[in-house]
Amino acid sequence: MTLWRLVIKEIAYRKLNFALAVLAVLVAVGCLVAELTLLRAHEVRAERQSDAQDARTRQRVGRLADDYRVITKQLGYNVLILPAKQDLGRFYAQGYAGETMPEEYARRLSESPLITVQHLLPSLQERIEWPERKFPIILVGTRGEVPQGHRNPKDPIQPLVAPGTMVVGRVVAERLGLEEGKEAVLFGRRLAVAKVHPPRGNEDDVTVWIDLAEAQALLGKPGRLNAILALSCLCAEATPEGIRREITTALDNDVQVLELSAAAATRRAARLRASVHADETVAAQEAGRAELRLVREALAAWIIPLVVIGATVWVGALAFGNVRDRRAEIGILRAIGWRARQILAVLLAKAVAGGLAGGAVGYAAGFALAAAWDVHEAAAGDAAGASALFDPGLLAAAVFLAPILAAAASLVPALLAARQDPAVVLREE
């Protein structure tokens, strides 16, 4: 005969009382575990969704930044390299440089380790009258080049004009009856019309583009250029001043560099804005998630104490009932020599057993409920999953704290029972 044997036999004898106590702990632990597990499930899913959303946002913003880059490519970091001797007043009045510089400059730039220039378009341009047609045009000889240090699979952004062909502006084509595929003679040389540009509303409409070498030959300026267009610096840190310094240094200060527009700054600002937009979007999502978690935690902060108090009262009331039912039994045990602490141990051991059973079953029930709810609540395939929800710390806390809670709830009735006067009980019985 041991205390535990008595406890077990009594539990078996008063099954309903024990079952109700277990149920109280089970409900309390189940509610807590379900609540905390659901919070965890929400967190896991929110984290996953947030990660996915972050990735999508970053992807979208990346595309946006790329769009900005593409949109502003025609504008960004375009500089015009002119001969150093070129008078800018004449240049602006005439629309092109009258002075020339060696074509070798383009090669030198293309082979220099400049980090800021992606595309170089050397050109020789002159306003002339088409001798065979007696029609004023702007003749542009051009070819695209990519600097050696930045060579990539991309084609030059300005399509090349193949030797023996020409590209003509809309007005020239209309006035001279030129069509794609037809041939025309320019300075005695037969050239095929490769393309007719749509109307642009500027001097391009009266421009004829031919291969640079042919233009140099036709204009009697072999190996000469009057401009190099440097396009598309993709380096965000590059500044117009930096580009200007790099180019003039590379070409022995024999050139002057004009920034064609302030679009570089616009472009950089646009990309920066896209990046800031991404950061703000992600931060807003994280703030929203944190706020939602705070709301849930606040709710749990109310529910958890309420459930604990409710269960404690419930277990305490059951313990009082049990002690009252066992009054005579406790009286006789005291009479035959059981110490008060042995009576206390018997009563608390029962509470601990109830707490242990309620804690374990409550954890399982709460976890299963939360996992099922998670599956029900989550979108298809988005449930957090049992393995992600399982928290060994919570299981340990449930199994460890529930018996303590049950024992604490039973302590007062157990103390009263242990201290009751057996003589009073035996006289009354």
Binding site: A328, W338, E429
Partner: protein, 221 residues
């Protein structure tokens, strides 16, 4: 063995005050079986509880084998009861969910011993309950229940056996069996103090005392 000197005990209730013991004295020697008779409410049970170290008297003294249980701490007094005193009550007070064997063994929790189980089975056998060892009280007759209670009281080999109307719920045959066991315990050297209404009790007792209104009236012998 047992000496009770001038015991006084008064119950003070809201409605009235009852003087249950009013200077009661008695002695029970080892091997003696003493019965105390008296009407209900005369203080018999109070005397028994006081003698057994369960109810501290207002005045007077209880000595068992030269030891005053009320000079002990509550915990030490509980141990003293486990070792020195056996109780038998009219209502048996068996633990309903324990078997006969476990009920008899209940005092061994208070006073553990290596041969507790063996002694319990011996008492069960001696009282004719061997085939009932695994039964719970609800499956026993009243006579069997009282024999279980008696076996429980005797498990720790007490010096004093206190019996409060042990035959009150028994048929004459069962009562005779129980009283016979009490007498046998006394013959073996124990002291028995029996309080009873049952005239049969007096037939088994070596000495019978009468109480009325908290006082010991006479010694009938």
């Amino acid at each position: 063995m047992l000496r009770v000197e001038n015991l006084t005990k008064t119950y003070r209730g809201a409605a009235r005050t009852v003087r249950a013991l009013d200077g009661v004295s008695l002695e029970v020697a080892a091997g003696e079986f003493v019965a105390v008779e008296g009407p209900s409410g005369c203080g018999k049970t109070t005397l028994l509880l006081a003698a057994g170290g369960l109810l501290r008297p207002d005045a007077g003294r209880v000595m068992l084998r030269g030891e005053d249980p009320y000079a002990l701490t509550p915990e030490a007094r509980a141990a003293w009861r486990a070792a020195q005193v056996g109780f038998v009550f009219q209502q048996f007070h068996l633990i309903p969910y324990l078997t006969v064997l476990d009920n008899v063994l209940a005092p061994s929790v208070a006073l553990p011993s290596a041969d507790g189980d063996k002694r319990a089975r011996e008492w069960i056998g001696r009282f004719g309950l061997a085939d009932r060892a695994d039964h719970v009280p609800a499956e026993l007759s009243t006579g069997e229940r009282q024999r279980v209670a008696l076996a429980r009281a005797l498990l720790n080999r007490p010096a004093l056996l206190l019996a409060d109307e042990p035959t009150g719920n028994l048929d004459p045959a069962s009562a005779a069996v129980v009283l016979g066991h009490l007498a046998e315990f006394a013959k073996s050297g124990g002291a028995v103090l029996l309080v009873t209404h049952d005239p049969l009790g007096a037939e088994y007792a070596g000495r019978t005392l009468r109480m009325a209104q908290g006082r010991m009236l006479n010694d009938k012998c």
